[in-house]
Symmetry: D3
Subunit: 340 residues, 6 copies
């Protein structure tokens, strides 16, 4: 997706110009891991217009491989194969950030089963980790099939599969989400999501969930995770971020992770200043995936996830502008003293 955003704390309605950014769930994770030094690629839909080129250039700039993305000829009108758009403004104080999607009929939503050669990717190319999630699944009838085919191909090839549940009520109903997603879980190694996601996407009822309050009840979360991993013993890791929204620019930020039998609490970053909250969750995901792929302990992984999410939210745009040195410094509790 291309994201168009007013500068500073301006509003979409009144901005004389909009900044151009790129982002998307899987995309943000591939992008961040490339910056941290891993080889990554992104699979999705592009087109041959300048809008498609914006996304392609943006990905390649940091070394994300887009050779397996599907590129179609744009019709010059927008009937299909669009580059999905969102109009996102950064909130301020009591005024929340706003994202306005304009992403129907996108090239990504139009990907068909069979179009991507997953076998080549997972078996010949030897991809070690595959990350996807609920937004891509919800985009269209065909993407649901594509996700299923990809997850199974990855599983078969021994590629680790992570899945961010990410419920979006504008995209589908809870019923559709559950029907689509539960059959996929047996092929998933790592689940990411908050209590609401587990309820709406997997059907686990939890008492007293109110994500609006900005404080997740970690006890309820833990109880629920234990149910999930009992039902799906193939799941090895479950993670979620914890975000307390003091104001648009000040959040309490942490995460909790279950990994093969134990819970690990991430560092509590209270009163964290937020430049742009979009992409924070993907920052957590890419941080802890980085940890697992480089052989860190579960505690180090959740620390990396929290630190990476926090750092990602210090810059505008959905995608990481963080370096490995910076991540390691903050994950170890390093201060914000000037580097010179």
């Amino acid at each position: 997706m291309i994201r168009l955003s007013p500068p500073g704390h301006q509003r979409i309605e009144f901005a004389p110009y909009l900044e151009v950014w790129c982002g998307g769930g899987e995309y943000n994770v591939a992008y961040a891991l490339a910056r941290l030094g891993l080889r990554t690629g992104w699979v999705g839909g592009l087109n041959d217009s300048p809008m498609g080129a914006i996304v392609r250039n943006h990905a390649r700039a940091v070394g994300v491989n887009v050779d397996f993305a599907i590129t179609r000829k744009y019709d010059g009108m927008g009937r299909k194969d669009r580059i999905g758009l969102n109009f996102t403004e950064v909130g301020f104080g009591p005024r929340a950030s706003v994202t306005l999607y304009d992403r129907a009929y996108s090239a990504t939503a139009g990907i068909q089963p069979g179009e991507v050669d997953w076998k080549k990717l997972f078996q010949e190319k030897g991809v070690r980790w595959f990350h996807t999630g609920g937004i891509f699944s919800a985009l269209s009838e065909s993407t649901r099939l594509v996700v299923a085919e990809a997850i199974k191909a990855a599983h078969e090839a021994g590629t680790i599969v992570s899945y961010d549940l990410n419920f979006r009520s504008k995209l589908w109903s809870s019923k559709e989400a559950i029907e689509t997603t539960r059959p996929l879980v047996p092929y998933i190694d790592c689940l990411i999501g908050n209590e609401e996601d587990f309820q709406k996407v997997l059907g686990y009822e939890v008492e007293g969930v109110d994500v609006e309050k900005g404080e997740l009840d970690t006890t309820a979360f833990k109880t629920m995770v234990e149910k999930v991993v009992k039902d799906f013993p193939n799941v090895k890791v479950v993670g979620t971020t914890l975000r307390g929204v003091k104001s648009a620019g000040i959040n309490d930020w942490s995460a909790i992770m279950w990994a093969e039998g134990a819970f690990y609490d991430g560092p509590q970053m209270s009163g964290l200043e937020i430049e742009d909250r979009v992409g924070g969750g993907d920052g957590f995901a890419s941080g802890f995936i980085y940890g697992f792929l480089t052989g860190k302990s579960p505690q180090e992984c959740v620390n990396l996830g929290v630190a990476h999410g926090a750092l990602l939210m210090t810059t505008r745009g959905d995608t990481s502008m963080i370096t490995l040195d910076e991540l390691l410094h903050v994950a170890k509790g390093g201060s914000a003293r000037i580097k010179r």
Copy 2:
């Protein structure tokens, strides 16, 4: 439509931000005439998102009435009732300007017959002139019907009807255009279009038309106009602009008009410098409509059209930033000496 444009001579693919402008065929004409001091309104589709507000605010700022526009609830996703977009870059030298449409499924394309109370507009409100054209007609199945209903209602009420033929091959075929448009001509008083438009939209074959060459053969044009007005004696005025594209920023610019039996050549503006060529044609249309509505002679009207189109192209954006004083000064051949 909202138009998103790179600043200066930058390209869509590489611009860090995009300027926000508004425009559209009928919209540009209503907007320009409001600036010249006439009471005008615009009818089309809007939505209740900030994108809809951008267009609504932009129109109202100069006094264009939007009370008759249809406003729908946006679905937050873009499946329908979108605000149409275009990504437009201003060319330079040998590099042409580019417009990339992303306007399918817009609120305007979704207007249905019966939604607008044309009778109230033309009869009760006493609108004197109604302007529309081929792009709106081509947007969707329903807009074709809406155009027909509007033109007939205007005609019945004694409102003058002008129609800009504007063929766009990406929107429909010549066959569809002809089938849709010819039945409307008996209700039209003023036709605007170049030879290609008359051929593709009304079916008048002309020899040797090559709009790419940048020089319209005024003889062929005149021959063709004579055929048209013989077939449709209700047509009282036919006009077209003449544009010779020396480079993206330097055009030869003029216009020719037939009015009730005679041809009138507009002033020749050779080597005209162009800041942004989009909207030049609508600038011509609004200039000469201004002339007719204020009782000017046909020669004055074509002069006003040429001058207004030229001035409109001295600013970025599709819509006029010109005042009546400036229009009258240039239409009389006034120089560009500093005003202070």
Copy 3:
């Protein structure tokens, strides 16, 4: 007034460019109420220069009617009928915001008694609420007369009159203010002002007032209000904002209101982040006027005022960029969690 402001936290002295905003006491209230869906108009002075057009376009964009504003021909030099200017910079941390007025000889200051047809407005057009205040009164000898004539005409027509006392020592002395203002109070329904205002503009001595400290003594305020409404039993509502300036960007923010015999405390917004504090008071006024005009209870009205003032200060510029949905969300205590 046109406000020229350095971007971000830059200073007037060093800024390479200045942002263009519009504002003014009555103007801000009319503008905000139009955004909330009410029909409003603004009466003041404009001129026929591009500077006048900036204000006119800005008002009309959100639907504020300016048909009753007085527009004069600008002399091209600035001897009179200027558009008032202010140069305003947003402070940061311990550095205060600064407003530098350059508004003498403005078109608004030049309005003469008899120029505006108040009777038509209040009686024929049926305006329900008239809002003005001490800054407009103080601008010139003639505006004092205009305010008096307007308030009396409104009162006579049964239009509710609200008046923001707003003492400005640069504009006039306390003595002049008292002599001008006290005779108006019998025609006023709703008074807005802090303790200092009541002292300097109406002559009510209060002990221990120090607005610099950033904490109004609500006890003293309440005592004083009781004196005022005893003297002027026609006054039905008295309101004031409470602002504790922790730093230029962090304020404690609330309000207190007396309405027909009882006091109502607004919500305490401690440590409120401020993007631009100018217009916060007008935001309060427009919020509670909205409440009264839509039939809310006094407590709801003060809540709306506090929330609206807080939201208005989340954006640059004096005027509201807030929607009704956003106002209602925050007035009910809603969080700043992202909307998407």
Copy 4:
């Protein structure tokens, strides 16, 4: 004066921000000569607000001495001692540049006779050249007296006096101008002005003057100059620029100069591209003053004037951004080939 200008070719009415520039007749000349390596100073009115600081900093940055400028306390309101403003937009093609003055009641207009110690400047400090003109004279009753006192003091000290006639109909009538200016000419060494200026400011009737046409009749100019120098034999140099306005951005540019008995034509710069035409005349004046002060021949002086005016118009803003090397290169006919 501070000049506020929309960026690029935007218009005052629609610009979201305005660039901040400084300028003024005498100011521009002092500024340019400082850049060319001469010691210069500027005398005028400033105030102690940030607006005054903008001008002071701007002058000092290139080494212009402002120790003799009069600085007053600003009243925070604009009743007097303002920093004069102008809103200037750069035209494009057939659309002329526009300057909108807002300079009444400025600190410069308020300078009183006796406030500046001219004797100290011209006699003790040994200033070699004093430049002023008709705009400063026309600002107010008091500036007329100040100009007279300064010119006489300069003359008495043996300082060369140059005077740019510069008629502005918005500031005063031709009658006032003539009554004020003719008595000064006996103290002036160098007159600058076009035929219209000589007619309106000194009363020399010339046949067929039409500055609008953009081509001065050099024969008429020469005839007129001969009359002037016969009447005022003390005048040693008379110069004028010749500007043919093809469009706002393309001018024919040259100058003609009479010096002690002979006429010298400057180089013809046909089709000169103009970034910003404001300050071109002052660029001419400073170029030829530089020539005279560094001992160049009259022909070299007019060449320097034409080249310097042309170069000055290649940048935005009224004041020079040109270096001595660049001036000498172009004055010798050097090309615009890249320097690297």
Copy 5:
């Protein structure tokens, strides 16, 4: 190199900010060819600072491979391994563009013989074309050796070698250039350079060369080429651009090429408008290399070179923003009519 440039036509001395661009002789050619669809790579020096990342990201964004670039640890001080800088402003009218180098001690200048595995590149990777030139040779003692080793390795592997002579008097003397370059010519297939380059870098005396005049004498050029190819019969192609500098923004533009016995004149683009002339020569080189690598005739190759150089100069920055479709359109003489 990173290029820092004032926006628009501003000057380095006065710009409040500078745009960030990337460029360099070989770099520009590799970048442009990647945009045209060929697989390319760039070899040079980078460092591990954010400055190095800017260049690396910029190259990768369009698909230029940088795996063979040498990346060193930056010392945080600039004693060595800097990223070379240039401060470049775009001229206007009679004011020339200016480039100010700050590129000593760069990582590229520090490349040592033996550091790059040319054999792997040319033999194992099968690179078909190697392009370098006189600027890289002149950077330091070590780069001269690196160029020699690279050219010989390419020649040995059958890779085509092109060399842009590009004399720069600030980098070395003609004597050094000749001593360094002549021994390389037997390994070069394609020479690019103007008459001055052939004289200063290869020692061919030509009568009447004056590149300042902006018009190369093609007869002298042809005579000289015939001498060169007689002395070095291995040379198969010799090309040069022809640039007549009417003003900084208007150039006459063409090229001439000798290929295996015959001369081919490129199209004459008179009065070409120039947005930014830097990179025009590299645009020519990449255009004709594209032609040769895709099997075009010599005449088509020179046409592609001229069109590509012209198009490259329609955008800011040294590197191409042009697509293959646009190149082919203009190379065939296509007009600048809007694409929509």
Copy 6:
């Protein structure tokens, strides 16, 4: 030095443009004191390129005298006499600010002993205070000698000497620093530095110093100062700032000063908001130097230092944008309530 900085909270690696600022230790102090109304000058190296002009103009704009700076001819390449650069980004939240130096081979580093006529400055011109420090000393072999010669000349002339120890490990080793600096202390009146500086630059071992922690142990500092002033009884004042880095944008800020036998604690500014922390230390130095030079008490001096440092950090750039009124207001504990 010229500082190039991304706008807002952007990063060097991803910024499309960089803001241009000027700064440097001694430079910042001279600049700030000039703004406070004192006559100051700066001595260092400049060149004749536009880069040199940027620094010269910036200094002169606020009245800093640069007549004693050494200006050299730039070689157009950067081998020597460069203008030192730094690329500085402002951090956000947990992400620290970053400064990347590129300042080797600068004109300042190249100053040679004997080039500056210190005697003229300190004896004839009567300079009252001379400020320099460890960064300038560390730049090159020659600057060490220049600092020694300057300090001794100042001492001999009775000019007060202040020296900011400022250890930078990238510039030299502690051993070099100690060998260079200790011999200078007998000529220094006022030392500025934290515990680490005293250890690394003067060799005073202190227990438990960890500047990373963001809280200086004032007890250890006091013990150490007592040792220093016992060894060097000529030292009359020792000062240091105390900075607790809560986040990049929130610091605890204070200072402590020893003056002729007693310690003075500055005001505690807890949770101070920081726009740009660079230059804060120089802001402290210039604040307390202002105090001493205008006869304030030691307690007032440290208050001025803390307030001035805090205010300086409310604006972007290394140099002060603060006025004397603002400094005095905050030094007295004044609030950030809007000024209007």
